[in-house]
Amino acid sequence: MNNMRLENAKVIEHKQFRNDYRLLVLECPGVGLAAKPGQFVHLRIPGQEPFILRRPFSIFKADDRTITLLYKKIGRGTTAMESIRDGDLISLLGPLGNGFPLDRKGIFPVVVGGGYGVAAMYLLAKQFPQPGAVFIGGRKADDILCVGDFEAMKWQVHLSTEDGSAGSKGLVTELLESWFAGDGAGRNVEIFACGPDGMLKAVTRQAEKRGLKAWISLDTHMGCGVGVCLACVCKTRDEKGNEQWGRVCKEGPVFECRRIVWSDDVPTKA
């Protein structure tokens, strides 16, 4: 039996977070209680009628009464979400997916988040007994999210933007690379990352190079969100090197990076 539920969640708050980013707080005790870091919910966008698919969003924050989503307006569905009002009811399926591995004792956690990918990382960071280091990247200053949340947990915060408008100029994985050469040297690091494919592929290459474990959370277009439609697959390999399709919604969204067979189509700038 899965622990997912189908809940009609009441909108407690829906507000702009920054520019194209918005926060959606939903009352859904069932999902909230069951949620684990790195899991997601599959949300039915109201008033989207000719379009029928739900949209997946990481559980940014959760407690025994609510969950909070942090989302970016990027297309049809997330644009339609703008019209969600306080008090509306929204159908929610979740929590879904495997989530990040917990109880990773004795490691120094390094979190890497690109854009809205950071939303997947807050709950994870919170459950580590000791603070780690977080690398937050984005195209420009507006895309750097949740710095305060990590600072409040006493994490080392490293920022980078492609245009240099906040933190160091460049890719977040470049920043990570130089950290490994300095501050990060000699630590028993495990990486936890969520962001665009290019970033995750670069993280994979770094982890392989340094012999570190890296847990990466993938972002694919989804149909059902629960494992029945086989739409969200990515190529994975098992321990023996046999390749098979992994369902991002079910076996994922989090995979140890060596499990992923990256396609040459995914560009890495780093």
């Binding site: 899965n2 622990n3 997912m4 029928i52 698919l53 029945v228 086989l230």
Partner: protein, 305 residues
């Protein structure tokens, strides 16, 4: 009035109500466990199974369009053995008729898959998928050629005693012909429609939205086409017809039954709302009460056309 009877039959399969889930939209059962009360369903139709495990198509496999979606999963599946080992134990304990959707790349493969399921405990029937638009060999090639359809259905018929339900392709000018071919070849019922071949192009990249180039359209957009096909098929044959395509509530299901379907299947709408099947069952019951109809079978084919 006492509650209306919802029981219906398809071949030797007795269903507590006419509402099943469509192949490929409900996995092999366990995935929706905890959210869908499977015990309420009339039957479960599992995702298409072939002799050996099958990889399917590369992603992207699915794209959303107005009123539906276009998919090209390509029949990925764990093969007969993998399916029976991994999923039949779960399915058996649900107490709901299990219909296995099967396919092959040749007449012989279809027959062999059918034969392999013949003895498997808990399997109530086989839906013969001769209408999948998303694979190169097999599938729709059998469903749009009268001779090939006759051969593959006859071969499967000889290979199994299970209730046999060829799933017809919508992509033919004369569906009545294919329904009759199925009936003559010994099928116990026919089901329709499978997805309608379709294509979406991303105008920014100039590439097809699906890696397989084309896919199959399903969801509300296809419903009026599906009702027409079910009506034409049901008029042509005496065996039961299972109607599907675009059901998202009781209204669409009732349309299929009025058009002649003895049972219906809900596909794409499960993705939109996993509780849709319960709503369809309740809605049919309410309709019967409202109309003073005591038995759901009385509305089968009752359209006044």
């Amino acid at each position: 009035m006492s509650r209306p009877r919802l029981e219906t039959c398809v071949g030797a399969i007795r269903m507590k109500n006419p509402v099943m889930v469509a192949s490929g939209t409900f996995g092999y059962g366990p995935e929706y466990d905890g959210v869908v009360d499977m015990g309420r369903l009339g039957a479960i139709v599992v995702k298409g199974i072939s002799l050996e495990p099958w990889e399917g198509n590369p992603p992207p496999r699915l794209v959303e369009v107005t009123g539906g979606l276009v998919n090209a999963i390509g029949l990925q599946n764990p093969g007969v053995d993998g399916f029976v080992r991994e999923y039949m134990p779960f399915l058996r304990q649900k107490g709901v008729p299990v219909i296995v959707n099967i396919w092959g790349r040749s007449v012989e493969e279809y027959a062999e898959v059918a034969a392999r399921f013949d003895g498997v405990a808990g399997v109530a029937g086989l839906e013969l998928n001769i209408s999948c638009p998303n694979i190169k060999e097999g599938g729709i090639a059998f469903g749009t050629d009268p001779g090939a359809a006759a051969r593959v259905i006859s071969a499967a018929r000889k290979a199994t005693k299970l209730t046999l339900i060829p799933k017809l392709s919508p992509n033919v000018p004369d569906i009545a012909l294919f329904a009759k071919i199925a009936e003559d070849a010994g099928a116990d019922a026919v089901s329709l429609i499978n997805s309608i071949p379709a294509m979406v192009i991303d105008i920014e990249t100039r590439r097809p939205a699906l890696a397989n180039t084309t896919g199959g359209l399903t969801g509300p957009a296809v419903h009026p086409v599906a009702v027409r096909l079910v009506w034409q098929a049901a008029k042509a044959v005496k065996i039961p017809v299972i109607g599907m395509g675009g059901i998202s509530g009781a209204r669409e299901a009732i349309e299929f039954m009025l058009a002649g379907a003895s049972a219906v299947a809900v596909g794409t709408a499960n993705f939109t709302d996993p509780s849709v099947t319960a709503a369809v069952i309740d809605g049919i019951e309410e309709y019967l009460v409202r109309k003073g109809v005591g038995d759901v079978r009385d509305i089968i084919g009752a359209v006044r056309a």
